[in-house]
């Protein structure tokens, strides 16, 4: 169900923990599974649970508890904008509005061509760089003025 490369990544995580604590790798394993497949289906979560020798329900609890897991399909590029107060004081909400207007979608929506999904995020620990956005959970972008947002969207091919 998962590629060799992904399984290798998961094995590397498992090795960080005591031999009887494979479950500790579940967060990273779900991250890699999501990165390969785009989102976490019930089957995929079950597969990861089995791979780590833990109950499927326990893996499902983890997948539903943490905000960055996607339990439904998302666009090719998921953009998360921080709108918490410190960012809002420096234009975080404006930045989100600009993206909405540009893509024609609201938070938690995906463009009809399946390219972009927009999410509202909480503090990313980068408030000094506001407005900040996170692309596909891994790339953080700082100082997102309208020009920078234009650039980001143009880069997303």
């Amino acid at each position: 169900m998962l590629s060799e490369a992904t399984l290798k990544n998961i094995d590397r995580e498992v090795a960080k923990y005591p031999a009887d604590q494979k479950q500790s790798a579940v967060m990273a394993a779900l991250h890699f599974a999501q990165a390969e497949k785009g989102w976490l289906s019930r089957d995929l979560i079950g597969y990861v649970a089995q791979y780590l020798g833990m109950p499927e329900m326990a893996a499902y609890e983890v997948a539903t508890f943490y905000n960055m897991y996607d339990l439904k399909p998302v666009g090719k590029y998921k953009i998360t904008v921080c709108t918490n107060l410190p960012c809002a004081l420096s234009g975080g909400v404006h930045a989100a509005d600009y993206v909405k207007q540009k893509l024609g979608i609201d938070f938690n929506e995906t463009t009809p061509d399946g390219k972009f999904t927009l999410k509202e995020g909480e503090c990313m620990g980068a408030c000094g760089d506001a407005p900040v956005m996170l692309v596909n959970n891994v790339h953080m972008r700082s100082f997102m003025t309208p020009e920078e947002i234009d650039k980001l969207i143009a880069e997303c091919k």
Partner: protein, 454 residues
């Protein structure tokens, strides 16, 4: 431009000054750079001077370093709680920086990951831990990868692994990735999370020093706490204490966000006047008037600007003024801000992030948000302010972890200090701060809160 300035730098000395957030342009974080500025000398000193575990702990106690994660608990004392002799003990670093306003650990991880590693190795030696984990906020995945690179460098150089620097001491360290849950910053939730579970806080006692990760004795400290350790061992605890003031040792990173000209991280001695910090930040944006400051991250009570202007930046002064130094996240707000709308956003955050275990927190945070939302949207009732206070006080002290208090304290303090704004909203169904003034401040004015009064 990301700003990093310092007076008496203990943490940031020799840091490469970043000119913008570009990972590929950052330099100076690698092992060779860290060693060139005296890195790993403290660890070597521990071994060549043959310091005992107790001597290391005594040095940290002498420094009066207090935990930089928010609670300000004395670090040396915390280490001394670890039982002697237990075979399997852990050291855990809390880099789950999610407290709104706080962004210091990110710069530490970005520009000085080896200082965190060295601090953790020394801590591991002092408490007798064999293994450590650094729990890293999910949103900074690029820095998680960088930390793994730094770990590989340290391992290759013999600072990690078996028989470190020929001392006979074994210790290894790993990175663990978070995935978007504020509550995992709470130490016992963080331990649950490393165990591969939902991040729900545990009852305390027992404290982690007795029953921690995998049920074993564990010491958990904040990233900045660990990063302060090498200086203390190299220069001595007294030297660190002398940087700050009595009962408030050392320098500290302050993350300044909001309406200042130069938001960023500033390292200043404990006891520095807030007015001085504001000056370093280039003053208020647009020369506007200071209205309010949240001095220690969003969970700390807000203070009116004029009260804050009389405070110095240390645990004692800010506590005396009725707030908390917390994580050192200074959120600055000018006269264009609507306090009701600001509180509404914070309340939403706590409502969203409550883990749901305790009824007063799970239900109470929802109540708080709903009440503030309705006041903000012109549907508030005169009795709502007393109700807000009542709900907030019913959460306080009745929950498993401190998130309950963290949700309640902003509400109580916003209403206490800015009551007239809340009353105006209720009475006039609009905001006391005119919309054009708010617009000038670049805050929420286009917020998609349909029906909002401003």
């Amino acid at each position: 431009m990301a700003i990093l300035e310092a007076i008496n730098p203990a943490l940031t000395a020799g840091w490469h000054q970043p000119d913008a957030w570009h990972m590929d342009r950052d330099s100076g974080w690698r092992l060779k750079d860290y060693e060139a500025r005296g890195g790993y000398q403290a660890l070597k000193k521990v071994f060549t001077d043959k310091l005992s575990q107790d001597q290391v702990i005594a040095e940290v106690k002498a420094s009066v370093l207090r935990g930089r994660g928010g609670a300000g608990f004395p670090t040396g004392l915390k280490w001394s709680f670890m039982p002697k002799g237990a075979p399997e003990k852990y050291i855990v670093c809390n880099t789950d920086e999610g407290e709104p306003g706080t962004f210091k650990d990110r710069d530490l991880m970005r520009l000085d990951p080896h200082a965190v590693i060295e601090g953790m190795i020394i801590a591991a030696f002092a408490v007798g831990a064999v293994r450590g984990y650094n729990y890293i906020h999910g949103e900074i995945y690029e820095l998680y990868q960088r930390f793994e690179e730094a770990l590989a460098e340290a391992r290759a150089a013999g600072y990690l692994g078996n028989n470190i620097l020929g001392s006979g001491f074994d210790f290894d360290l790993f990175a663990h990735q978070g995935y978007g849950a504020y509550i995992c910053g709470e130490e016992s939730a963080l331990l649950e999370s490393i165990e591969g579970k939902k991040g729900q806080p545990r009852f305390k006692p027992p404290f982690p020093a007795q029953v921690g990760l995998y049920g074993k004795p564990t010491t958990i400290n904040n990233t900045e706490t660990f990063a302060s350790i090498p200086y203390i061992l190299r220069q001595g605890g007294q030297a660190f204490l002398d940087l700050g003031k009595a009962n408030n040792g050392g320098t500290k990173l302050f993350s300044v966000s909001g309406h200042v000209n130069k938001p960023g991280n500033y390292e200043v001695p404990m006891g520095t006047p807030f007015a001085k910090l504001l000056e370093m930040c280039g003053g208020m944006r647009g020369g506007r008037k200071l209205k309010a400051v949240i001095p220690g991250g969003s969970s700390a009570p807000v203070l009116p600007g004029h009260i804050m202007m009389d405070c110095t930046l240390d645990y004692d002064s800010i506590a005396k003024a009725g707030s908390m130094l917390g994580s050192g996240a200074v959120i600055v707000m000018d006269e264009t801000v609507c306090m009701v709308k600001s509180l509404e956003r914070l309340s939403w955050f706590y409502y969203e992030e409550s883990c749901g275990q305790c009824t007063p927190c799970r239900e109470g945070t929802g109540w708080l948000y709903k009440l503030i939302h309705r006041i903000e949207h012109g549907q508030g009732r005169p009795e709502d302010l007393d109700l807000l206070d009542d709900v907030a006080k019913k959460i306080m002290g009745r929950t498993i972890c401190a998130l309950g208090d963290a949700a309640a304290l902003p509400v109580i303090s916003f209403v206490k200090h800015f009551r007239s704004e809340f009353e105006y909203h209720i009475e006039h169904k609009q905001c006391l701060v005119p919309p054009d003034v708010q617009k000038a401040g670049s805050t929420f004015h286009t917020r998609l809160m349909a029906g909002a009064t401003c």
